[in-house]
Amino acid sequence: MEPAVRIDHLTKVFKVPSLKGQRVTAVSDLSLQVAPGEIYGLIGPNGSGKSTTMKVLLGLIAPTKGTTAVFGQDSRKVRSRVDVGFLPENPYFYKFLTAEETLHFYGRLGGLRKRAIRERSKELLALVGLEHARDRRLSGYSKGMLQRIGLAQALIQRPRLVVLDEPTAGVDPAGSRKIRDLILKFREDGISVILSSHLLEQVQEVCDRVGIIFQGKLCREGPMEALMAIEDQTEILLERASPELIARVKALVDEDAQASLLRAGHPRTTLERLFLEETSGESPDTRGGSQDA
């Protein structure tokens, strides 16, 4: 079966506007695949190459080396975009359009007929919970609402792959929860998702597989559970543990010759820990890409 996303040895070098003609390698030799129906999280700090990778995948920029493909179609071909829905980071749509007009516009661009769009936008507005604001111009929308109309827009032509760049950036917790639920619904519908985020908590909640990208390279990749499971560590999850009980556990561990207590706290930060491990090991002076003049 054709993978939803296939990225083969992708390298992207940008020319920096300067007198010396400096170049910055944003992505270097990156390969990854997203299976159909899979939700893939691409995580990394700012400037690590997440957005660049996504832009190449969408044909917005051309790869310097390597190839990217969506369901087997080369990203450089416009046709490959039929199967993609994209939500950029902090999306701004045409403020002079209403929600319904926006969906109509993107639906037509996606190649839908007017009637199909009418039905589909009804469906999507219900899905993202914007039925009440359908006739309002987007200039009056909040950030969370824009993000949701962005999602609806991305889904209009029923793409088999959805690309989400920081889908919850700047959205309040309630809004980001709604978006998370929507992503989970994609899985039910068999839609593949590739999303980038630095909100690790969320990635952990929704993704099947995660890739950690740093300085343009994919440093770790794997299924969520595999990444999380650490062979020589054991996690004990307690409920309603009193401080006294924790103190006693600590004492008990101290008695043991081999074992040591690493940490006591909320378990959800494991990915965050992993992330920090992967991204703080390198020397800080090469952050943001290597330079080869």
Binding site: K55, L60, I61, V78, L87, P88, Y92, G111, R120, V163
Partner: protein
Amino acid sequence: MHNLAVYRHFSPARVGVLARNTLTQLVRMRAFYFLLIFSVIVLVSALLIQNFTFDPARQLKIMKDMSFFAMSMFGTIFAIVATANLIPKDVEDRTLYTILAKPVPRFEYLLGKYLGAMLVIVLSMAVMMLMLCVVLYLRQQALLTEQQALLDAGAPHAEEIAVVIDELKADGPSTSLITAAAAICLQAMVLGAVTLFVSTFASSGLFTVVVAFMLFFVGYIEPVVVDYWRGSMESLGSFANACIHVVELIFPNFQSFNLVDDVVSGKTLPLSLFFKILGMGLSYVVVYLLAAYFIFADKEL
């Protein structure tokens, strides 16, 4: 689940959607109304200023001059300013990402944006032209009735009144006025394509506007100056000649679209010549859009 979309390599429908969207955008922008109000002011002032002249036929000329001036200004300014910001604004607002992430070829995007802006120009020109024709016709009829009444009342100088009547009859709305307006439109369209081309590689909207105005300015004056040099100085140095050729190559020749001055003074352009000018203008549009596409297709967004 099956994908609903049908993809075609070139789809006029998509171009149409983009054009309509741009039209909506520009129409919902206030600046557009401001320019229309400007033209209305000019038309109204054209009516008020009539009392100034003695020659009834000259009143009609004043109206035409004022209106064509308004149309030229509107067309030129709008073609440059509106087109210069089409792409930068989409890049800045990141709407371009969402559009190109749909199955939309970049050429269609450019074409759609361009056509949308041109649609605004053509539509408003048509409105202004209609306004001019109506006002001109009404004024012409009023003046004719006035002169005829003088004639019927047995006023002296009947023969001179007859001449005035003939002049008035010739100065009403005519097809040559429409060719002049069409030439203004065509000029705006060429200017729009040139501006769009500049905006594909410009670093800022201001840069685009300045360069486009310069191209327009030089492109207008250059043919006249070159003509003058050639006429007045028989033997130009080979260096000067080479310079002239370079200038001619770089700057579009906007003088070809300048019909207004002569049409207003009553000259008629043969239709065949008008079609040549039309062909010239459309070639400019096609070539500059193509050049814009080459740069835009390669652009890293």
